[in-house]
Subunit: 152 residues, 2 copies
């Protein structure tokens, strides 16, 4: 029997659809999966890409600062910075004023990869969200930013 059983009319998720969290997670999964695929050609994951963009925009910041702005714990950042350093995209400079800390800086290659990766992500996201007009996209971002800013 290759086809579905007769009793298998259809599976409904209408109860779950009442919850914003359900929609949020499913939508996030779609975008994250596309994002991960887009970044693969640069040997970047979503988190290493985010970290790279943040270092570029805030050169010299410490790992503690990076962890804070990324909303994650410091230990989880070590492997991310290790990866970026091993790829030759970022360097750890000892902070002369506080020798416990590092100042994270871009390499020339890091800046180049960052620019190209951002362009690729912009392009893929635009294609993926092409059915949503500019006004709705801005409204969506505003609502998501509002949710994110909830302290809990």
């Amino acid at each position: 029997m290759t086809q579905a059983s007769d009793k298998r009319t259809k599976v409904s998720d209408s109860e779950l659809r009442k919850f914003v969290g359900y929609h949020l997670k499913r939508a996030s999964n779609v975008i994250q999966a596309d994002l991960a695929e887009t970044l693969r050609e640069f040997d970047l994951r979503v988190l290493t890409f985010s970290a790279l963009v943040l270092v570029e925009e805030n050169e010299g910041l410490s790992q503690t600062q990076l962890a804070e702005v990324m909303g994650m714990e410091r230990p989880n950042l070590v492997a991310i910075v290790d990866t970026l350093e091993n790829l030759g995209l970022v360097v750890r400079d000892r902070d002369a004023a506080d020798r416990r800390a590092y100042e994270l800086r871009m390499t020339a290659k890091g800046t180049s990869v960052c620019t190209r990766a951002k362009a690729a992500v912009r392009q893929h996201e635009a294609a993926l969200l092409s059915t949503i007009d500019e006004k709705d996209r801005e409204a969506l971002i505003a609502l998501l930013a509002q949710i994110r800013s909830i302290t809990t």
Copy 2:
């Protein structure tokens, strides 16, 4: 030195904020964390809660059907159904017509827990999103559903 260094003006994420995926992930993290906390008193995680609600709405469905509607691979569902069965919330009934498959059914306890958990989630979500009016919340859900439906 307890306070921040002078050079630490502020860390900016304005570059990342250009991407919908960034906002989506951060917002999703906030809601999922609250959801997980809400479900803890019922010994449920986000995925076991989702599965429980889906079994209640579609009694007799198979694990393959459940995996499909949840958007995940079959192997990952085994532990979820195991957990629900161990909690006494769901039972695996052998399908008489196809003895390879199970029909997933609610227990009385499962129905009771499901009803109370859904109420708790509704309540926590309403409180969390209280600053977003009904119209915006519906617009948000519509946009998220549209993104989710992208096949990729």
